[in-house]
Amino acid sequence: MLGLGVDRLQADINRLLASLFHQGVLDEHFLQLQQLQDETSPNFVYDVINIYFDESEKLLRNLRLLLVDREFSDYKKIGLHLNQLVGSSSSIGARRVRNVCVAFRSASELSNRPGCMRGLEVVEHEYHYLKNMMHELFQLEQQRLLAAGVRYPV
């Protein structure tokens, strides 16, 4: 019976991942991340994704601060922040976030301020969706580990 709990949770994890791949939220680089996890770094995916969240939120905060400033004109700085976001999003397989960052970057290269504001909103939306999905994935994996750790009483 308890084994069924693990199986059910694994099926939920597989379903969630399949959905995220199907939606284009994740790509094959997320699989590489999972393949790099091993006994020497059993929480590698969790750790790297959390580094990604920390870095991305700082960058998104900075981007918003730049764009809401009435005196703003430093599109080069916008570009630098976006290069970081594109890079780290690509590395973890966050395809949709990466793609909307690229679109945002195009607006910044044209010094298109309204385009940049729209771009930022889209990036923030995609980023928060990804973050929610990753939290759901980690919760399921945590539950699966706990369920797998249950022993029948002797």
């Binding site: 580094i51 630098l80 690509s90 590395s91």
Partner: protein
Amino acid sequence: MTREELPNLAESKLTALVVDDNFVNQSIHQKLLARLGITNEVVCNGKEAVDAHCSGRNYDLILMDMDMPIMNGIQATKRLREMGIESKIAGVTTRANEGEKKEFMEAGLNDFQEKPLTISKLLSILHKFDFYVQT
């Protein structure tokens, strides 16, 4: 490639330096190198890479990001070559137009790969530098 199919280069005692200001990429590049048995260190920008060599450290391979604060990858590569550093330097960057790539190569790179770095791209770098012979 499964884990079992990956070469273990630990016996080669290769050393590498990851030069990147992005913590996500630092983690991934270090793990890729470690998975192949390559001992490695990380620094956050070109100046730290130069300082590491000034302090006497040396590496078989340097993975050099292009866009970094304080000293970027192009400046750092030029400086290292001026210092006589003969390590193999592979530029890895998210985006570079042909002009930027040419400038980076002319700074003294031995190879160039677009990010994200993968195991197969890293093996391609190692193979190019004769650090790894495919069987």
